[in-house]
């Protein structure tokens, strides 16, 4: 049992730690919000799932408690749904507020913040309704 835990848990834990550190480094070093969002959301979801799997192994094989395993599965399942949702909401809010993506040299990738707002819309023709009303 010890061998099984060592063989399974350590590689998973190292993978999870690589996810977490890579995501955090990406979040400090990448040039704009959208790239940081990409780095953070992917690694957060992946890291939580992989490290949750390590804890799940211990919950099943060491503690042998079904309740602990169920709670861990709840946390993992909840993160699997909420982390991408939160990232989507964040990106959409940033686009709607007119935050323009930039490339590595700080050059804007769109011409104006109106273009960013347009990209963030659920229906791209929605702004014409506003103009007609005015």
């Amino acid at each position: 049992m010890e061998l099984l835990l060592g063989v399974l848990a350590w590689p998973l834990a190292i993978l999870g730690m690589i996810f977490l550190i890579a995501g955090a480094v990406g979040m400090t070093r990448l040039p704009d919000l959208y790239t940081r969002l990409h780095a953070a959301s992917v690694t957060d979801t992946g890291g939580t799932l992989v490290i949750g799997l390590v804890l799940l192994l211990y919950a099943v094989f060491v503690y042998g408690s079904a309740m602990v395993a169920i709670k861990l599965l709840l946390i993992m399942g909840f993160t699997l749904f909420t982390a991408p949702t939160a990232s989507h909401v964040l990106a959409k809010a940033a686009l709607l507020s007119g935050l323009v993506p930039v490339d590595g040299k700080g050059e804007p990738l769109l011409e104006s913040s109106e273009q960013a707002t347009q990209l963030g819309r659920s229906r791209p023709d929605a702004s014409s309704a506003v103009q007609e009303k005015r």
Binding site: D44, I51, L74, A93, A129
Partner: protein, 94 residues
């Protein structure tokens, strides 16, 4: 041993996330950092529970995960719509 190493890696990642939360030029950067910090806190609480041999900590981690998501979305709603009358947003954006 295993859990201590994971906890240290989590703390390093949280420190880097905190740098972004303090430096981030826009409010969205700070929110992203806070959201990511919250996710890592959930993991840290769970790992700390196993580290101390008390898996009951998972209850706290679970409720923290719920609050973290709701908090992010609630604060974002605040930033997304600064002024409804400015004409910057269309009807469908709400």
């Amino acid at each position: 041993m295993l859990f201590s190493v994971i906890a240290i890696a989590l703390l390093v990642a949280m420190l880097l996330t905190l740098v972004r939360a303090l430096a981030g030029p826009t409010a969205f950067d700070r929110l992203l950092a806070v959201n990511s910090f919250g996710t890592k806190t959930v993991l840290l609480i769970a790992v700390a529970g196993f580290l101390m041999g008390r898996p009951e900590f998972l209850d706290i981690a679970l409720s923290y995960a719920l609050i973290n998501f709701l908090g992010t979305v609630a604060v974002l709603k605040y930033f997304e719509l600064p002024d409804p009358d400015s004409g910057h947003y269309a009807e469908d954006d709400y």
